[in-house]
């Protein structure tokens, strides 16, 4: 097993045994060996001076690390609701037929592994899969056949990409078939932008001036929660600490969100400059872009952008020409975990640990990355910062609604003619939006992703803004031909999969809720079951430790509120109904014991 020792020591050395780079070490081992075995775990721990449990905890936490082999070729097929709507089922079957094993397992020769994965940020071009880090979109059964033939013949995965997407997807460093699908450009993000102009303006004033300008813009966080950015920076700047950090949250994992993907592909300069502005404002010398593993295909390209910015002195020593202001950005890759979009979990993960949320207080602005005051901002927020620096807070605040200023990027997918990216002014009604995207006549719209709200026709007159229908950007259109409860069920399975497991209400509660939902969907529910389902939603929302569990019951809670009849028409009109089937439940044990199930008299 000399090979394991060699691979591990090479991986560990290339990150100088830095424990904050544990995820990178593990990824290198995973890529080289196709698994991170117990032996590899012990050796990583030994060389990095970490306990075996620390390393194993990280390996088993993240979706893209595996203790058992996942094959020379590893297919991760998205199983999000929209993927299913766009025909994921047939694609999965085609993969299984061609490869000869079922999802969640490895082919007999150990060459190809088939696995499900949560939303990969390609909802506008589903069904899609990631094979060895390369994204394949708009899959058809024919295409699957070609891919599997190629893998069986030992072809290089990136050579199997045929047509490239638009814009920077064609860059030598990206070469991806992903399409941007920018359908509507607005004045904040997708208007012409002169690189360097924002930082120049920012450093001309004091950091306080910058914070005030952001406060004047009334900019709120674009990740979904909508916390006022200026206030966050102010807290961070004032917090005592030897160093301060700026972290950009590029872990968009909310099913249906893919706006950050397009920003990172097309306007990364604006984003990194926004990070520099944030660094100047809060007094940080270092910025970290936490990039979700699904967007690994953009990493080389982004590294190059960072290099160019260093050459232009927008990053680096005396950044923006300001003497004494040094600021640089490094990229830290995630490894497949929705929860890492939660800021304290993200920080844990960026430090090379399991992505479990921290207790708050202290908040990240007080004690964040490495224990130092840290501002964590969304990709889109930091881009908006750059624009605000150039155009001014007043200009920005003149758009949108009272509590939702400026413009918002929406990622629209599902049953509409023109899925893609729309830059709209806050305050657009759902009706207008549906008309623009070609989704009129929808049965429902999921706004803000599974953790957001599912609304029906009655709410189509409402505005997209924090006071009415808030969103981090995900908009999923659902036509009348869909079974809404099946979509809700898909969302719940997503939360069960992605719960970090730390607290019981979320870990167990989501399973209990989903079992209840299944009972009702199977026609075995009663009025009591529906009432219990509602109260379980309240318990999980009220008692969970972080935003995941505090919002995970939303698909059910909001559909019970807005589509109650969908549930009620499935209920049995009896006082109690068991979903239990004795004969079915003893099948397995009887088979193993080689006996015939006998249930007479029971």
């Amino acid at each position: 097993m000399g090979n394991i020792a060699e691979v591990v020591s090479k991986a560990v050395e290339s990150y100088q045994k830095d424990p904050t780079r544990l995820l990178d070490v593990i990824r290198d081992v995973q890529d080289a060996l196709g698994q991170v075995s117990d032996e590899a775990i012990v050796q990583i721990g030994h060389l990095m001076n970490l306990s075996k449990v620390d390393v194993e905890g990280v390996v088993t936490f993240y979706h893209f690390f595996s203790k058992s082999p996942v094959g020379k070729y590893t297919v991760y097929l998205n199983n999000s609701a929209v993927a299913v709507m766009m025909g994921r089922g047939a694609i999965a079957k085609a993969f299984e037929k061609e490869v000869g094993c079922s999802f969640g397992s490895l082919s007999e020769d150990g060459k190809i592994g088939l696995y499900d994965t949560s939303c990969i940020g390609m909802n506008d071009q589903e069904p899609a899969a990631i094979i060895n880090g390369v994204v394949f979109t708009n899959l058809t059964e024919k295409r699957v056949k070609e891919l599997v033939t190629g893998m069986k013949a030992g072809r290089n995965v990136s050579d199997m990409v045929k047509d490239l997407g638009d814009g920077n997807n064609q860059s030598e460093l990206v070469k991806s078939m992903v399409k941007n699908n920018i359908r509507q450009r607005g004045s904040v993000l997708f208007a012409p932008y002169e690189s360097g102009s924002a930082l120049r303006k920012a450093v001309a004033g004091t950091p306080e001036d910058v914070i005030n300008e952001i406060k004047n813009a009334e900019l709120r966080g674009r990740g979904g929660a909508g916390f006022p950015t200026g206030m966050k920076w102010d807290f961070c700047r004032r917090a005592q600490g030897e160093r301060h950090y700026v972290v950009c949250n590029a872990d968009e994992g909310e099913p249906g969100t893919f706006k950050d993907r397009v920003i990172l592909t097309e306007i990364p300069e604006m984003l990194f400059e926004g990070m520099a502005v944030a660094g100047y404002a809060v007094g940080a010398a270092e910025g970290i872009l936490y990039l979700r593993a699904e967007y690994m295909y953009l990493k080389k390209f982004l590294e190059k952008v960072l290099d160019d910015l260093r050459k232009k002195n927008i990053l680096g020593k005396n950044a923006g020409g300001k003497t004494g202001f040094d600021f640089d950005v490094k990229i830290q890759m995630g490894a497949g975990a929705y929860i890492c979009g939660e800021e304290s979990a993200l920080i844990q993960s960026a430090e090379g640990k399991r992505g479990e949320p921290r207790n708050r207080p202290p908040f990240p602005v007080q004690r964040g990355y490495g224990g130092y005051p840290t501002t964590v901002n969304n990709v889109e927020t930091l881009c908006a910062v750059s624009r605000i620096m150039v155009e001014g807070g007043k200009w920005f605040a003149s758009m949108g609604t009272v509590q939702s200023r400026g413009m918002k990027l929406l990622s629209v997918s599902g049953d509409c003619d023109k899925p893609g990216i729309y830059e709209v002014e806050w305050g657009i009604t759902l009706e207008q939006l549906l008309k623009t995207v070609g989704g009129s006549g929808a049965q429902a719209v999921v706004i803000g992703g599974p953790s957001g709200t599912i609304v029906g026709k009655e709410a189509f007159g409402k505005k997209v803004c924090y006071q009415e229908l808030g969103t981090g950007g995900s908009v999923i259109v659902i036509s009348k031909k869909r079974n809404l409860l099946e979509i809700v069920h898909n969302f719940m399975e997503f939360f069960i999969e992605e719960s970090c497991g730390w607290c019981v209400p979320c870990r167990a509660g989501n399973v209990i809720i989903t079992n209840k939902l299944e009972k009702i969907m199977a026609g075995n529910g009663t009025k009591t079951d529906l009432a219990e389902l509602e109260s379980w939603c309240k318990i999980v929302k009220g008692m969970s430790r972080c935003g995941l569990g505090q919002t995970s019951p939303n698909p059910i809670a909001t559909t019970i509120a807005n589509f109650r009849s969908l549930y009620e028409e499935k209920l049995k009109k009896v006082e109690y109904e068991t979903g239990f089937d004795l004969l079915k439940s003893v099948q397995e044990s009887c088979k193993v014991a080689n006996r015939k199930p006998k249930i007479e008299g029971h």
């Binding site: 003893v586 397995e588 044990s589 080689n594």
Partner: protein, 182 residues
């Protein structure tokens, strides 16, 4: 008025809840005055011969006999009470719920270190032996349960107060601390 009739059973439990019932100490004398025990391990009556007012069940359902017993209780008791963690949530026995039944049985009867290598390797399959369910079920998933008394085991005071309430019809008066566990 005749005394309320109480029946009890322990299904997939450890009898710890019944032990906790005995922890009511000398109040058991009052209890005997207050109620009549019918089918129960306390008096070893095996079969229902009359309708009972209250059935108290400890433990969840892990096999077909548990299910039969539970359904029998539902038929013969006006009010059914789930007593303790296992009855309410499956409890410790439900730890096997994440392990396939096949693996559990093979571990217990074929691969266990206490197996005598000379014995024939067989998973017991006599028709008289209850059939194992695919997972351990809490009671309310199989029959309607009227009341739940939490705890592992529920405290004697909780059981006492609950029984008193059911027997006398007075209002339940239990401080929160008696059923708060963390």
């Amino acid at each position: 008025m005749s005394k309320p009739i109480v029946a009890t059973a322990s299904l997939a439990g450890c009898f710890g809840c019944h032990m906790s019932l005995l922890d009511i100490d000398d109040r058991i004398l009052q209890l005997i005055d207050l109620v009549e025990f019918h089918k129960s391990p306390v008096d070893d009556i095996k079969k229902f011969t009359k309708m009972c007012d209250v059935g108290i069940i400890e433990g969840g359902c892990c096999n077909s006999e548990n299910v039969e017993n539970l359904r029998d209780f539902r038929k013969n008791c006006k009010i059914l009470v789930a007593l303790g963690e296992c009855a309410i949530m499956g409890g410790l026995p439900a730890m096997r719920n994440d392990i396939p039944v096949k693996e559990c049985l093979e571990e217990a009867y074929l691969g266990s270190p206490t197996i005598d290598p000379k014995d024939p390797k067989i998973i017991p399959n006599d028709d008289d032996i209850p059939m194992i369910l695919d997972r351990v079920y809490p009671l309310h998933e199989i029959v309607k349960i009227d009341y739940f008394l939490p705890g592992c085991p529920p405290r004697a005071d909780l059981i006492w107060e609950a029984l008193l309430t059911l027997a006398t019809g007075k209002e339940l008066n239990i401080p929160y601390e008696v059923f708060k566990f963390d």
